[in-house]
Symmetry: D2
Subunit: 283 residues, 4 copies
């Protein structure tokens, strides 16, 4: 087999889960390349991520589900398998800021991101040339008077391109619940503050007014509540009294792109599981 199998599992915790799962894999001659496990105190759930080497493994992708289903049913598992030769199909949504987009595209080109990028969508035409550098189709969908219509077209495009995962790379629009529910735990947004500080608009301006000495950025899954979804990653930068709002914006760009890129990478490698409003990240 030319690909590895990745298995993500969550279920109510009980004794013997690791034994049962690893026994199942051993029975099929699988070599476990990496195994991560965590039991959540707050939810009582068990989370696991496994990567199984392709060479020698007895279960092809077409066979895995039916072989694993009985075990999964017995333990009440939520699970999914993915395969390293089938990278996720990722759409990037942008408005006018280019720093996150350029950074993601550069990393993708450098081989840092396991993804196909079938399209970039924007409500503004500005960044078309950025997409062109890497030969990725750019769709300009202006919002106009009817936002629902624009979102409908966007959903149509994503569907048509069989998109698995949506990245909001400073997409300056609030998505409707309809859109959000189409990609549960599969839309990552970058918010330009250290959440839960400065939820909403103009976080750098408000950070400056408050006189903070550190600014931050937060990558989170998008839910219906604005800026309240499960946090995947956060980081900060130090600032001083000399930094104007423009300086915060400049320094913030560096944090935003770094935080978003890391969250995207983790999602693409199936390293993030959702535990209520928290995330489990198997780095």
């Amino acid at each position: 087999m030319g690909y590895n199998t990745r298995l993500l599992i969550s279920c109510p915790d009980k004794k013997g889960l690791i034994a049962a799962i690893s026994q199942f894999i051993a029975m099929h001659d699988g070599n476990i390349l990496s195994a991560d496990q965590y039991v959540s105190e707050s939810s009582g759930r068990f989370f696991m991520r496994l990567e199984i080497e392709g060479a020698g493994f007895g279960l092809e992708r077409g066979e895995f589900a039916s072989a694993f289903a009985p075990l999964a049913r017995r333990h009440g598992m939520d699970w999914k398998a993915s395969y390293t030769d089938a990278p996720k199909r990722m759409a990037v949504l942008v408005s006018r800021y280019d720093h996150c987009l350029i950074d993601l595209l550069w990393r993708w080109d450098a081989g840092e991101l396991e993804a196909e990028i079938p399209l970039i969508v924007s409500n503004h035409p500005d960044l078309a040339s950025r997409a062109q550098v890497y030969g990725i189709p750019f769709h300009h969908l202006p919002i106009g008077e009817n936002k629902a219509q624009q979102e409908g077209e966007m959903l149509g495009l994503l569907d048509e391109h069989e998109v698995d995962f949506v990245v909001l790379a400073r997409y300056m629009q609030i998505l409707t619940p309809k859109f959000v529910s189409a990609y549960p735990d599969r839309i990552v947004n970058i918010h330009h503050s250290f959440l839960p500080a400065f939820v909403g608009a103009d976080p750098y301006k408000r950070a400056h007014d408050r006189g903070v000495k550190t600014i931050g950025a937060t990558a989170h899954y998008v839910t219906e509540d604005l800026d309240a979804g499960p946090i995947v990653h956060q980081d900060v930068a130090h600032v001083t009294h000399r930094d104007t709002v423009d300086d915060l914006v400049r320094l913030g760009r560096e944090v935003e792109r770094r935080v978003l890129a890391r969250a995207v990478r983790w999602h693409l490698e199936d390293r993030v599981l959702v535990d209520g409003n928290r995330t489990v990240v198997f780095e």
Copy 2:
């Protein structure tokens, strides 16, 4: 002269301030060891900190004020001079947590903090032995039924010991406006969150519930508004899904003591000026 003179100035910005001030010092044969300057865009004010070498300077501490007053009046300066042989008199207020107190005392003993510590005050008796290690008088003032009375006694003690500066090293009581106004911009508190996130009680518990990936601590001057005073310093620590509330408390202790110690050091060395609700820190 066996001491250096430190001069802190703030006034409306205008041309020629640096020339006027440095000319004044040169006229009196002063050697400027360090000079820091900043003009605040938001308030239009000029801020300066100067350290003048003792050797050769023609103005003794008794003479400085009358010599400098005309210049200060002409430019509408708020100013104060301090002298490096007269360290500030610092009181430390604590409750039951010892980490910030131990750290401050160790640093003080190691010569990192330019201060005299005439007393430590607590509403609990628990930390008396910590004070004793360094031979510092410890006053236990329980709050009992009448908080105003306890604060009155505390103010009396601070007054009696000629205290310049008050550090709340995890003092778990909210001070009354009367107390706060007795030491304007001269009370530093350590808040165990990254303000303005998690104002108020139980920040680590709330940070855990929100699923943040970074926790922080904030040192700020105390004003009448809870946790809303000018921020002097902030820092953070990364956390993961594996960290329980107790782990956040443990990791937070390390950040708290580091952030508080740095803010205290800067205040003691006259490096912090207040610009509205922001601080200018000449590191």
Copy 3:
């Protein structure tokens, strides 16, 4: 059982190891609280750390070894089990600098370190009072003319107190191979530079001369080669042109104590395994 069992394993990698180990634990009704695993590309070895809940586990500490031995033998495992009700016995060696010692003792007192500290040993009498605060016996063993003799006495003391683990908390002496070989991978030293930069004496002075903009500290296991043992943890602090050698020493103290404390905590919780000259740290 009132204690959890921790199992550390390393062996040549092969298929089925996780299944075999977890099956063994499940067979004895063990509940795996946490499991970490790693395969080293450079050495081809498999490393694992397991924590098994006491409640319900069928193997008491007296029974574990004989039950596990056949499996271990079959796979060529190096392994050891430890038990959370039997913390390691840790000796701290110091000279005159107190910052690492005070920090370790404060953390120990705060419950951050799973250890008993039967003794502190020093070649100088200065820090006796630091030990006394926490009621820990302090042994002053001056070096005098015969270093071998002093080390002999020290080894005698450690042996008498059944010490498992030795921490060099700025102990300013080079240990002989004889001493080092008595505690293989069980002596942690803090070096006050970012190794491999500034091996040997006076790293802060040399860092200042070189004009670096960041200083660091390194915690490592002690081997016969000076400052060349496996690194457990490293961290840094930023410095500027304004920082004198004394400032570097001051800022470095903060990094040193933080880095050492973390390495000690990891060792005490059996989170560190040695892979040639590298360490595997299951945080």
Copy 4:
């Protein structure tokens, strides 16, 4: 005047320098926007950076030198003035790695870097398309059999384009003394290690072999001694046992581009002065 004047000064320290300089500026109706000053303990030299507002300043760029010369002569000053409407002319030298180049160009396009970029030069053709995105001329100068000849052509090009400042953005060639001496303290290189650790080739491989837990990058002025010039900026990233050499390379790219960009920005804004083998950075 539509531009500000920046003045960089270094000279032997003595009393009254700040007064003399600020008096000179006040005499010509200059408004000092920012002033930074430092006295080096090791060299006994005084360093100063001033930014003087254009509006109202009585000295145009053509007049400044002759007006300032007498004062400069009296105090033995090395000095230079620059003007904010005349950004430096910066050449970027690259080989095959694109991350530093893309980052610099993006920042330049975003207005973060005060520079004109008349040309990019490379010994390989690979990155021509990166330059083209921003419309910057790309010169491919292969090294072939005669390196001196290639360097000669390069010097010719830089001269022809009136280049002030050269950035080695992962230019994988060692420059000859002749080239270096043509741009003293005006060539910045990014070295992919935390100098002085891992001087020379393959630092990531060597860092991995040594088992370090932190990797770094260093921006420094180029001198005749390899990797030994004055350090402008350094930063690090944490790594774990799981990170392969390829991971270090990937994580290192992020540090390299951040460190280089900051050093370049500081140089362009005349914030860096050289003090022997150290730098003074007025951030």
